[in-house]
Symmetry: C2
Subunit: 191 residues, 2 copies
DNA sequence: CGATTCTTTGAAAACAGTCAATCTGTGTGG
DNA sequence: CCACACAGATTGACTGTTTTCAAAGAATCG
């Protein structure tokens, strides 16, 4: 399970075997069943988690009980509620598994320590943060300028591997569109 | 003009006078008239700019000629097209002044150098990045879960100082709502 | 197979966008 | 000082899209 993170860190940041050992010491392996929570509303997010297998989502519960998906994450992605993780405040969101999954959890203090002693890992972290931010901006642009149909196509084109493994109503919740509308959009596209 | 940035850095990051001198050496003062561009589509964003006076926006031009505002920035905010800034690729966005403004521009290389030699400044940068990301996530959540009316109220409550100095059609463009709809929402609220 | 979970479909209602006209305030040049 | 242009805001009528509600049809899993 750790080998997947090791391969990732080697490729993305060129870490040495010695540095990888530092990671292995602090990684906590965890398996999640489908529908199992990694984080519940009100919890504090103490860990940053690397996904070696499966798919998770972070969502917010609306007042009327509807779930609004803020992000998906699959193999080789990191996930945490970063607002809670960074500030130490209770999370307003939930994270759960959409498939049986395997993750490696790293405590924030350990993660920060690794960043401070492995320059290449800090660089990787900064790069990933920048990419996340860019992705957010692109999503916002799509939200404020695209039709429901355009949003759907942008998503499937940007993340074909993710879109193809998710049920339609999850994508609808991510896009901010009703299932019915998305079903109609998809049907229209078949013709 | 520089004193405003100096006061900001002293308060937010506790920089010493010596460190502030390093900033002063690399800051480029610039005045912008209302409607003047700081960055045009296709340009590469080489600078990160600190606003000492005024208000700017970053927007994307749609195919049909409509402008979609990605962000506003006022006094004590930083602005740049970070996608272009970080990657060195041509910008897809424009930045212009909504009021007569004054900014301090710092070249990316100088900025990066300051981060590398002033630990407290790196910490501030990381904090600001994290806050930007959180703000993006909150905006996305609002985009996918709120009605036009809720979006408007969230914006005015979150940024009352910004909302009150902007024309209505700019806010509409930021929220992804037509001017007419926003005008009706506001009118309804007056009653 | 029985029970979820997920998807589709139809009809009505709510919502937001478009188009066009008008109104307002501001500032500029004659 | 006035006339005019201009940017911005509002309003009404209409159109189009999306949501909602309800029901039924697939698909999946234990």
């Amino acid at each position: 399970m750790f080998e997947i993170l090791a391969a990732y860190l080697k490729e993305k940041a060129g870490l040495t075997d010695q540095e990888l050992n530092l990671f292995q010491e602090v990684c906590i392996e965890k398996k999640l069943r489908k529908r199992q929570y990694l984080l519940q509303e009100g919890d504090i997010s103490h860990y940053n988690s690397f996904i070696t297998k499966g798919c998770l989502r972070m969502y917010r519960m609306g007042k009327d009980g509807t779930e609004h998906i803020l992000r998906f994450a699959v193999e080789n992605w990191w996930i945490s509620d970063y607002e809670s993780y960074n500030s130490g405040s209770p999370s307003k969101n939930c994270i759960d598994a959409l498939e049986d999954s395997e993750i490696l959890m790293i405590k924030k203090e350990d993660f920060d320590h690794l960043i401070s002693i492995i320059p290449n890992f800090r660089i990787l972290r900064d790069l990933l943060n920048a990419r996340s931010f860019d992705a957010s901006q692109n999503r916002i642009l799509s939200n404020i300028s695209d039709t429901a149909e355009d949003k759907y196509h942008l998503f499937t084109q940007s993340y074909p591997d993710i879109a193809s493994r998710l049920p339609l109503h999850m994508i609808a919740s991510f896009l901010g569109v009703s299932r019915e509308t998305l079903s109609r959009i998809r049907h229209k596209y078949v013709k």
